[in-house]
């Protein structure tokens, strides 16, 4: 039952998504591309691009998008988006009365000493997983990657501007 699978997948993504949108990417990719094949890796990359240019968190955007493409129905979007938010609800409502204590809790802080460096690895995994032949079709792709990396990392070019420039470059060189 696809609606149940969507619910479970996005509930897991919401439950284990630590460290912000980019760190959630390998989790989403694992469920949506590898396990269930609801979209190709190329489509997944496209939706990351679209997410960068539209409002809202990538977790919500991917849930809404995948929910629709997997079922061809608005209900798929509703269920996936609801499922990705649900763990947050449960957890926040459990700790909301004692969140100040939670913040200074030594065990929580200990766990985060391991989790924080791991989120860097999660983001790296997302980048590595997307470096495949679907996204890098020829030597020009590599040049675009290097230029885009330098421009965002060192010249602090805004991500939206970066994507727009890449789009223009694509029209010219392909």
């Amino acid at each position: 039952m696809i609606y149940l699978q969507l619910f479970i997948s996005f509930f897991k993504i919401g439950l284990f998504g630590f460290g912000g949108g980019y760190a959630m990417l390998p989790l989403i990719q694992n469920e949506v591309v590898d396990k269930h094949g609801w979209m190709t890796l190329q489509e997944f990359t496209d939706i990351v691009a679209v997410s960068q240019m539209t409002p809202g968190p990538i977790g919500i955007n991917s849930a809404t998008y995948v929910g629709y493409t997997a079922t061809q129905s608005i209900w798929g979007s509703v269920i996936a988006t609801f499922a990705v938010c649900l763990p947050s609800f449960i957890i926040v409502l459990l700790i909301v009365r004692s969140y100040k204590k939670f913040r200074t809790n030594k065990y929580v802080n200990d766990a985060f000493k391991g989790l924080r460096p791991a989120t860097v690895g999660l983001i790296a995994a997302a980048a590595l997983l997307l470096m495949n032949q679907e996204n890098f079709i020829d030597y020009k792709s590599i040049i675009i990657f290097v230029v885009a990396f330098v421009a965002t990392m060192f010249l602090k070019l805004h991500p939206i501007l970066m994507i727009l420039l890449a789009a223009v470059a694509g029209l010219i060189i392909y």
Partner: protein
């Protein structure tokens, strides 16, 4: 205006005008919720952000749940989350309905051929910036390297990596305090 509607509209505004996700949303959330509406004090807001980053899930959603709860308990949480989620939900739904047709266009394909490697670069950049903010050093650098490699090369589920990293930190902390 009824407080529920106010909560809804404030978060809908935040959801509509922040492109690029949670961290980009923080200044706008602060301006609306702390400075303009004065629903929460600055100190409480700082605490809330810290806890919202500690619990799993989408940062903006966590903050919406917290703020909503502070104002109107559980119903407040639901209203705030609906407000935060609805704008991107509607936009992405519209895109999802037409994206495949849109992708059939030859010019769109040309654009996306170049956009894809650029997006990979956009994801590669925060690997280094996050490593810096998190304070990865020569002692801890093995953690991100091992995690990335396990996921990418051996196809280990990121869920296991998160569980192991959290447990590892916990055990390390307990041993260290002995």
């Amino acid at each position: 205006m009824n407080l529920y509607w106010q909560i809804f509209f404030v978060f809908a505004k935040i959801g509509t005008f922040t492109i690029g996700g949670g961290y980009a949303m923080l200044p706008l959330i602060q301006r609306e919720v702390v400075d303009r509406k004065q629903w929460i004090s600055k100190d409480d807001f700082v605490d809330m952000i810290a806890v919202s980053q500690t619990v799993p899930g989408i940062l903006a959603v966590n903050i919406a749940i917290f703020t909503g709860h502070k104002l109107k308990n559980n119903t407040g949480s639901i209203v705030a989350t609906l407000g935060a989620v609805l704008p991107s939900f509607l936009i992405i739904l519209a895109i999802a309905m037409f994206f495949r047709q849109f992708m059939d266009n030859i010019w769109v394909q040309k654009m996306f051929n170049a956009i894809r490697p650029a997006v990979v670069a956009l994801i590669a950049v925060p690997v280094f910036t996050t490593a810096k903010t998190v304070g990865v050093n020569i002692k801890t650098i093995i953690i991100p390297i091992a995690s990335a490699f396990l996921i990418w090369y051996w196809g280990v589920s990121p869920i296991y990596i998160i569980l192991i990293a959290g447990l590892g930190g916990l055990i390390y902390g307990i041993i260290e305090r002995r």
